[in-house]
Every structure is written in structure tokens, then in C-alpha cells.
């Protein structure tokens, strides 16, 4: 197995606009990596390309050494808005869907996460608040045993207390060699669990740095991120 993620020379254009250009990114196994950038920087697009749901890009994307989209999808778990289910669908039916479609789905792990998130299996999607739905999405995403987890702003609707609790527990849910790529606006809250920070600016990865190195410079991740943007603006 190769690295959980290896991207070389990625270019993606849509509606005559370059969204990603000459992007290279490699993530090592077992890391928790923050994908940071302004709104519209291309974080979601990058995750969509990695997962194979965005098309017509140039460059190479490898997930666990696999380039074919079907193989990539089998080795990653991407947060999904569950829009493919009717609002009347029960959580228990969604679990069945995941069990059948994903051979790596771990029911025991899901049950633990479901209890942790305080979600009842007989609840229907229409009965879930935005926060509860996001908790369900996080639980489903982490119930798969994969090499790469892609979390696209997974905590935005979750209340502050639950968010802190979930972020602290992420480290327990992931397998030792799995890597998490998470994009989130709450940099200070996820900072404690991060190993690396990747910043997207000007349509490409302009900074990839370990949190260890950031802290060695006597900076917090949030300060580093803010100062990075300040520096860019000054220049």
C-alpha cells in the first residue's frame, strides 16, 4: 500500500474558471491533517476530486496507491449530506445501506458512535436537526475501515459542547494507520488533534507544515493560519 493520498500536478477547471492549478499534495499514514483556506479556495472541490465525484480534471490522484476511481472510493470515506435518502428514511435503514454497499463498514463501531452521539436508530432523517444529522454523518463516515477519511466541514451545525467532545474523540475512532483530511472553520477547536496543516491559496497548496513545527515557532495553529494570511496580504 502507498501513501493514503498522493496528488501530482492536479488541474481542475469549471465554467471557464481555474479552480485548482498545479496542485501537489502527499499525506503520510496515521496523520490528522487540516485543510485550510478561504471560502471558495477549492477545499470542497479538492475532496470531491479525490473521492471521484468531480470529473474532468488533469493530473494524478492516488488513494492508498490506487488511481482508478472505483478503487479510490473503496479506500476512502467521505462525509456525505445523505441527500440520496428520502426524508422518511430511518437511521436503521441507512445503516443497512452502508452495510451492504461498504464491505468495510463496522457495525460495532457505528453502534458505539451512535450511542456517543446520542442518536436513536428508529429516528427518521426528517426528525433530525441539522446538528443531529451532522453527528450521524460523522458516525457513518468513521464506521468504515479505510485508509483515508475526508471530512468536509463536518462540525459546522453541531453545538459547541458536542463539537469539542467529538473532536477530542476523533483520535480514538480512527485506525492507527488511517489518515484524516479535515476542512473546518473552527481551527482553534481542531488544532489540538492536528498533526499537519495544509493551506490552499491561489488555487494550489501553498503551505504544508506539521503542527509540531508550528508550535516550535511558539505559535498556535490559529495564530499561524492568521499570520500566514496577514503576511500574504502585506506582500
Amino acid at each position: 500500500m502507498g501513501n493514503p493520498l498522493e496528488i501530482t500536478d492536479l488541474v481542475y477547471k469549471k465554467n471557464q474558471k481555474k479552480i485548482i492549478t498545479n496542485l501537489d499534495l502527499t499525506l503520510k499514514p496515521g496523520k490528522i491533517v487540516a485543510l485550510l483556506g478561504e471560502n471558495g479556495a477549492g477545499k470542497t472541490t479538492l475532496m470531491r476530486i479525490i473521492s471521484g465525484v468531480a470529473k474532468n480534471y488533469r493530473g494524478t490522484v492516488k488513494v492508498a496507491g490506487f488511481t482508478k476511481e472505483a478503487d479510490r472510493k473503496g479506500h476512502l470515506s467521505f462525509t456525505d449530506g445523505l441527500t440520496g435518502f428520502a426524508n422518511s428514511t430511518k437511521i436503521s435503514d441507512i445503516i443497512k445501506f452502508y452495510q451492504i454497499l461498504y464491505q468495510d463498514f463496522n457495525l460495532k463501531q457505528f453502534e458505539q458512535l451512535r450511542e456517543f452521539m446520542n442518536l436513536k436508530p428508529d429516528l427518521r432523517l426528517s426528525e433530525l436537526s441539522k446538528g443531529m444529522k451532522e453527528k450521524l454523518v460523522v458516525a457513518l463516515t468513521f464506521s468504515r475501515r479505510v485508509d483515508l477519511y475526508l471530512l468536509d466541514e463536518p462540525f459546522s451545525g453541531i453545538d459547541a459542547m458536542a463539537r469539542k467532545k467529538i473532536i477530542k474523540s476523533i483520535i480514538l475512532w480512527k485506525q492507527e494507520k488511517s489518515t484524516i483530511l479535515v476542512s473546518d472553520h473552527f481551527v482553534n477547536e481542531i488544532a489540538a488533534v492536528l498533526d499537519e496543516v495544509v493551506i490552499i491559496k491561489n488555487k494550489t497548496v501553498c503551505m504544508q507544515k506539521s503542527t509540531e513545527a508550528i508550535r516550535a515557532d511558539n505559535q498556535s495553529v490559529e495564530e499561524f493560519y492568521e499570520s500566514f494570511y496577514q503576511r500574504e496580504e502585506d506582500e
Binding site: Q16, K55, E69, G84
Partner: protein, 269 residues
Amino acid sequence: MVMFNHLFGKLFEKKAKYVHLLVVLQFISSLASAFFTYFSFYSGRFHLNLNNNLEFFPGWMALFASFTFLFGPILYILTVVQNERLNRSKTWRLAPISDGTFYIDNILSSFVSLIYFVFLDFIIALGLFFVSIFAYPKFGKNLRFELNLDTDTFLTFICIILLVILTALFIYFLVSFLNFSSQAILSFLPQASSHILISFIRIFIIIILMGLLVKLYRVLINSFVNLFLLKATDLAGLEYVVGMMFVVNLIMLGINVFLINHFFEAEEK
């Protein structure tokens, strides 16, 4: 193949919900129609209309069978819409299978759901038929079945069935093609800010594509199919149309698989 089967099972399960709903609606509406055909309400109570030639159950069976031609097309339209929704759904497109295979699975499950609908209708109609025989022995005695099956009639029957199947598949493919290609072309054009403008451009693209398809279809009939199929096999009439539809369907399927694999993206949510 395992993933193909698993995905097929889930897709069919989703589409079978529509089938069950429509069969129940067909059953209830045919019962209600039969009831109001055979009973009239006046003077505060129901009265049996005795001027009908058929008894109640055979009449209900006939109505139920004829309602297949109303509910069948409704189911077909629902599956056409559902196919395209699923093709665009991120939830479904994230399944660990290639997008082209997913597309084939999606269309196949819709087609099987149509067969399932016909099968359920047949079983219910058969049930009503036996109830009619038991309830009205005279009805059973008066039944006469005559089956004149010469080779030509049988072949024509088979051709018509094949043509119906191929036409149903063709419409699935055509709708997907227009959806995929118009979306793909839109993604190459500059971003429009207004949804109305986007819809207008999309409709315009679809009209152009339809025109191109009609032209292509004519060329196909006049050259390739005529040359390779009609002349080589000496087929004529219905068999020719069936053969042509089969070739056209294969081409459309190939184009759609290519478009979904390379251009048609799942929704962002």
C-alpha cells in the same frame, strides 16, 4: 460483480417502493371504479345495477387489468425521474464501483422494477380471475380459450415485446444523454449567476442536441444499419426495426457510460 449485485439490490429496493405504492393504488382505484359501476347510491342506500353484462368480480378484474395501461406509464415516468436523481446523487455515486457500472445498474434496476410491476399486476389479475370463477361458476363455464399460434404470429408477438422493451430502454438512455451532455456542456461555459438563465441555456442546449440526434439517427438508418444489418441478414419489417433499435440502444449506452465516467459530476451536497 459482487458490488454490482449489492448495488442492484439497494437500487431495486428503492424503486420497488414506487411499484408497491402504485400497485396498491391501482388495486384500490379499480375496486372503487368497479364498486361505482355496479352500485348506485340513491334513497339513502346502495343499489346493485343489474343491467351490467359482467358480474362484480370479473368486472373488477377487467378494470384492474385495464388500469395497468394507466399506472404502468406513471411508474415509467417516475423511474425516469428517479434514474436521473440517482445519477446525480453523491450518496449513491460514492459507492465503490465505477460510475459507468453504477449507471448500468441504475437503468437495469429501473427496468426490472417495471417487469416486477407487470408481474405483480399479473398475479393480482390472476387472483381476481380465480375468485371470479369460484364466485360465479357460470363465468368459468362460459370461458373459452383459443390459441392460434402460427410461426409468423409468434414471431410478430416476440418482436413487439422486444420493441416495447427496447423503446423503454431507449427513452431511459435518451433522457440520461440529454441530462449528462447538457450538464457537461454547461460546465464548459462561463458561470451564469441567474438560475433562470442557466435553465434557459440548458433547454437551448437540449433542443440543439435533440436536433443533432435526429440528424444522426437518419444518417444511421440510411448508411450503417441499412448496409450491415438489413442487407446482411435480409431482415425486413418489424425485425429490422428491432435490430435497429438494439444497435441505437447500444450506441446510446456507450455514450452515456463515457459521459458519466468523464464529465457528469455528482451534486455537491
